[in-house]
Amino acid sequence: MRVLVIEDDEEAAAYMAKGLKEQGFVVDLATTGPDGLALATAETYDLLIVDRMLPGMDGLVIVEALRKSDNQTPVLFLSALGQVDDRVKGLQAGGDDYLTKPYAFSELLARIEALLRRGKGVSEQTTFKVADLELDLLKRSVTRGGQDIDLQPREFKLLEYLMRHSGQVVTRTMLLEGVWDYHFDPKTNVIDVHISRLRQKIDKDFNPPLLQTVRGAGYSLREPT
């Protein structure tokens, strides 16, 4: 996976690049807007990470230009500008996700994975399967090992989200956005309790445990290695 990072803070960019390389990404760096735009146009990337506050240029402009020339590469905006308004502007300019600084690297990773997965057209799926856990969107049914599992509507939505991102790390913020449609960083363990309840229903009486806690980041629904 090739990622282009357009960020003028060289140290932050270097750390990000290092972290992403650890995860197996191939990372290119650009420290100015024009350089970034040139690279993005000339080369093909699977993902662009664009800082909005670039010297002399708002990252928005780069993305608008790319979209105008039919470049649909997924874009994650990274910005110290964190107001609701800015987020909306970023998404309207053609961005696919928006992360405000300061952010946790695990959050960044999780969102990158989600964006990359999204690009592959998984959204049309109506059935999901992880090991022997199956979810059917049309029938609104959940089974594991052939056994019917009864879920509340919100629990169903939660499981659906986890299954759409199966194998990936999903942060609490992502869950609050994707399942409850509210944008902020939930403190305390409010999401944890919902996860715990879901676990009771889909994992407790079954083997192996699929809903895993990823320390310092969030959760992931996957077969344990």
């Binding site: 964190g82 107001q83 609701v84 409850w180 509210y182 305390t188 409010v190 919902h194 715990s196």
Partner: protein, 444 residues
């Protein structure tokens, strides 16, 4: 100056019109009377002949010794036949017409005086001349009276108007200058200065009051910013120090790989806590600045509350607490959906945290003519009245220790979001527990 000219012109116009109406009416009335009488006499002549007409005129002349009404009948050669004039006035010769002339009469003292008169001449069949008129003294006196009154009125009005205008403009200018002085003082740095309010509740007072409100707002925002900087410095210094110390000490201990990993995880956690506090401070500052009001939308507050309850129900259930809800359907207010959710989330966070096991949290959302009211009440220890105001400030804690989890910013954010929505927040005694009452104003 312009107003003066306009004023003067309009007064002249009004008075001129009045004059025209009154004076004219008087003149018209007299003429009509004369006309009618003239026609009547002519008719009389046609019907009954000359002798009869002479008789009538002699009679009328007798009744008017002092020439209040004037009659004269002459031959075609102007030889007198009947009437109370001594001769046919020269002016009256020629075509039939209206004339204004002088007549000689005696006044009450017997003296001979000349008086004004108005008459009409008429040529009867067979060329006899008839003159009918009225003495105009009284009428002219009245006209003069009216004219006089109107002119004096005009003069007085103009004088008073000028004087009044002068006074008023001086008054206005002085009020404006007072505001100017105040503004200059503030620009020069006297931030406490406010515009003068005289208590007369006129437009200038209202202007001053509004300007003062703006200045209060500016001061509030400035102090808000100062607070934020202070808070950031004050409350982030300790955790950052802690972080640093931990790392430094760990290095001194020459740690093994496992210890290092643990310390790193702990450090990340500490850093997250710091970030959370930092973000919360910024969020509060943003909410308090009021900027977000521009992007307000119609929010289904029923739905937001229901979502919030649903999110926290499992958390409450862990402590065997229940939510008692009474939420009216489809209530909407202008606001920010996300922030309202955070507001409710913070209230529930606190309620669950401070209420003992098996307690109840009541939620009430209703609407009346004043707007939407949201009540969240718990059965915990509540907040003593004297500490309620402090509880809403940043970093306030009931126990002055900082060891309890959470950043202490929950209620501060609640207060900021409430203010942003132009709503009021009241902390009350739920007997037992805390009752938080939010009143959102009626939609405009």
């Amino acid at each position: 100056m312009i107003y003066m000219a306009l004023f003067g012109t309009s007064v002249c116009g009004v008075l001129g019109f009045e004059y025209w109406q009154t004076a004219r009416v008087i003149a018209e009335q007299t003429d009509t009377t004369i006309e009618v009488e003239t026609q009547g006499l002519a008719e009389h002549y046609r019907e009954f002949g000359l002798a009869q007409l002479i008789f009538v005129i002699k009679e009328r002349a007798r009744n008017n010794p002092n020439l209040q009404s004037i009659y004269l009948l002459t031959t075609p050669e102007f030889k007198l036949l009947a009437g109370n004039l001594s001769a046919w006035p020269d002016q009256a010769k020629g075509e039939p017409k209206w004339i204004n002339f002088q007549i000689e009469t005696t006044d009450t003292n017997g003296k001979k005086v000349e008086r004004p008169a108005r008459a009409q001449t008429f040529i009867l069949p067979d060329s006899f001349h008839l003159l009918v008129g009225r003495e105009m003294t009284e009428r002219q006196k009245i006209q003069a009276l009216i004219t006089n009154a109107l002119i004096w009125g005009l003069v007085l009005t103009l004088i008073l108007g000028m004087f009044g205008g002068f006074l008023m403009s001086r008054h206005v200018l002085s009020r404006i200058e007072a505001i100017n002085r105040g503004s200059r003082a503030i620009l020069d740095g006297d931030m406490q200065r406010r515009m003068p309010v005289t208590g007369s509740h006129d437009e200038f007072d209202r202007l001053s009051a509004n300007l003062n409100a703006m200045l209060d707002q500016i001061e509030h925002l400035m102090s808000g910013m100062r607070e934020v900087t202070n808070d950031i410095a004050h409350d982030l210094r300790s955790p950052i120090n802690r972080l640093r110390t931990r790392l430094e000490v760990t290095l001194l201990e020459k740690p093994g790989a496992e210890t290092l990993e643990k310390v790193m995880h702990d450090t990340i956690q500490e850093a997250d806590a710091i970030l959370e506090t930092f973000n919360a401070i910024l969020d509060i500052a943003l909410a308090e600045s009021g900027v977000l009001r521009d992007k307000f939308e119609l929010v289904d507050i029923t739905e937001v509350m229901q979502d919030a309850v649903e999110l926290y129900e499992p958390v409450a259930a862990e402590k065997n607490q229940t939510f008692d809800c009474s939420i009216s359907e489809n209530l909407g207010i202008q606001g920010n959906r996300n922030l309202l959710f955070r507001l409710f989330a913070n209230l529930f966070d606190n309620a669950i945290k401070y209420t003992p096991d098996k307690g109840a949290i009541t939620v009430d959302v209703s609407q009346d003519k004043n707007g939407v009211t949201v009540i969240v009440a718990d059965s915990g220890p509540g907040i003593p009245p004297e500490q309620r105001e402090k509880a809403l400030q940043r970093f306030a804690r009931l126990d002055s220790s900082r060891t309890a989890p959470g950043s202490g910013l929950g209620l501060a954010l609640v207060a900021a979001i409430t203010r942003l929505h132009n709503a009021t927040l009241k902390l009350e005694d739920n007997e037992p527990g805390l009752r938080v009452v939010l009143a959102f104003p009626q939609n405009k």
